[in-house]
Each structure stands twice: as structure tokens, then as C-alpha cells.
Symmetry: C2
Amino acid sequence: MSEADATGRVYLEDLHVGQRFLSGTHALDERQVIAFASEFDPQPFHTNPAEAKSLFFGGLVASGWHTAAITMRLMVTSGLPIAKGLIGAAAEVSWPRPTLPDDVLQVESEVIDIRPSRSRPDRGTVTARSETRNQRGEVVQVLVSKLIVPRRPSR
Amino acid sequence: MSEADATGRVYLEDLHVGQRFLSGTHALDERQVIAFASEFDPQPFHTNPAEAKSLFFGGLVASGWHTAAITMRLMVTSGLPIAKGLIGAAAEVSWPRPTLPDDVLQVESEVIDIRPSRSRPDRGTVTARSETRNQRGEVVQVLVSKLIVPRRPSR
């Protein structure tokens, strides 16, 4: 789906609005959900499967920030091969439904805006919209991120 | 700073625009930065102190998603004592400067909007703006989150 150079990395010039990148998958499990939440989001609906049944979500669900972190991993390792790395300046994230402990997540990213920098001729800002979906194709997270992307060095 | 009930938990009725909540602190270190990034954001400016010196940030920095996760921990454990827990539907996050491996982070949250739900009389949506600052008072993250907050149950 991507148009990359010999290293598999893309520069600002290689991107166009509408371009899509599909990541690999990540299989979640209850152990990962509880481990992340115990460290970063210690609330019983994320850490205690028995107690979670009577709480907001009706069962154990992953922290939204865990979904965001897994999304980043998928984008970095397989989703969006930006030269020099994936460097975000800002992001909007929403979680239309919870991520469940047995979900298998995959991220599809679409380039929705490209703006060369006026002050820094070596780079630009790319806006990407990334949908994280579970194995049923349901969207568990929508992430719109502004990425700093280098221009291809002149030769 | 907060107006909480006997359990230390606040309901929609206890909140007002302009109300602020200050969290405890979290001391980061290089080990934590590398551990988080190795799992969720495996890029050398987050995982390899030597290589990072010649890369974008000029040294090792924490993943923005790590800053976001620590912010959530601080808000959950000490920052914003919402009854029934901190449940976010959506968030906007920006990272005006990088989080460094020896930073000590603290979060100050301000209630900026309160909207009772029209369709669900037992809850409302609260918008909070949370600044995460380092030990020099510099803002490393601004998070604007929409939280689902229950109304106080009638007696």
C-alpha cells in the first residue's frame, strides 16, 4: 500500500492524501490488560475481572491508554514507515467502544493532510487518521495524529 | 482543592467550572523510559541512549504515550477523584516539549466544562484540561479529556 524507498521508509514527498497503511496485528490477553492497568490506570474495571462484572463496562476492559499504546506499537513496527521515525506533536483520540481482553487489534492509517513547513524547509506536518479495529472489524479507537515528517534529503 | 463526599469521591454536582485538582508526583528514570518504549514505542530515541544523541531530540526522551500513561496514573491515584472512576470517552493530547528520563511529573487538572446528559439522567460529561509538568514547572503535556461522570444518587 505504501510507496517507500529502498530502506522501506517514506519521506514527505512519498506521501499523498488518501494513502493508506495497514499494520500487523496484536493479540491482547487478560494478563496484558491487568499488567498495563496495574501500572498506569489502576481502576477495578481494568484490573479485577470479578469486580469488573458489576461496574461500568460489565466486565474487564483494557485502559484506553493501553489501546493507544498498542496502536503506537503497531504503527511503529508495521503501520506507517516514516523516515526518521514516528514523531507526534499532538493527537486526538476517541474510544467508541471498549477494547476487550481477548481482542486482536489491527490499525489502518490514512493520510488526511500534508503541510510542508514554512519555517523549516527540511520537514512538514502530516495528519494521519488511524482506526484501531478488533477481530470483528469493530473500531475501538480513532486516532488523529499530527506527525513531523522529514523531506527527502537532496542528493 | 476538591469538594468530595465522605468517601473522597466527587459526583457531577460537586464539580464546577474552574475547579482545580493537583496530583501527587511521579519520578521517571531511564529504566522506565526504555521499558515502556521497548514494549509500545520501540524507536531508538526512546530506547537507546547512545544512538538517541544523534537523533531528533538530541538525547533519550520518553514516548509521548508514556507521558500520557503516567498522567493517567497520577489522575487516577491522586488527581481527580471522580465517583465510579475516571472513564474517558475522548481526549486531545499535545506534547509541547519532550519528557526527559530524570523528570518528576505532576498533573494539575481544571474543570473547563460540565454538561448533564440529556438522554441519561444519571450522568454527565465533564471536560477537564490537565497540564503535566516537570520539576522545573515546564509543561510536557496538555490533555483535554471528556469524562463520563455520574450524578450523585438520590437518597
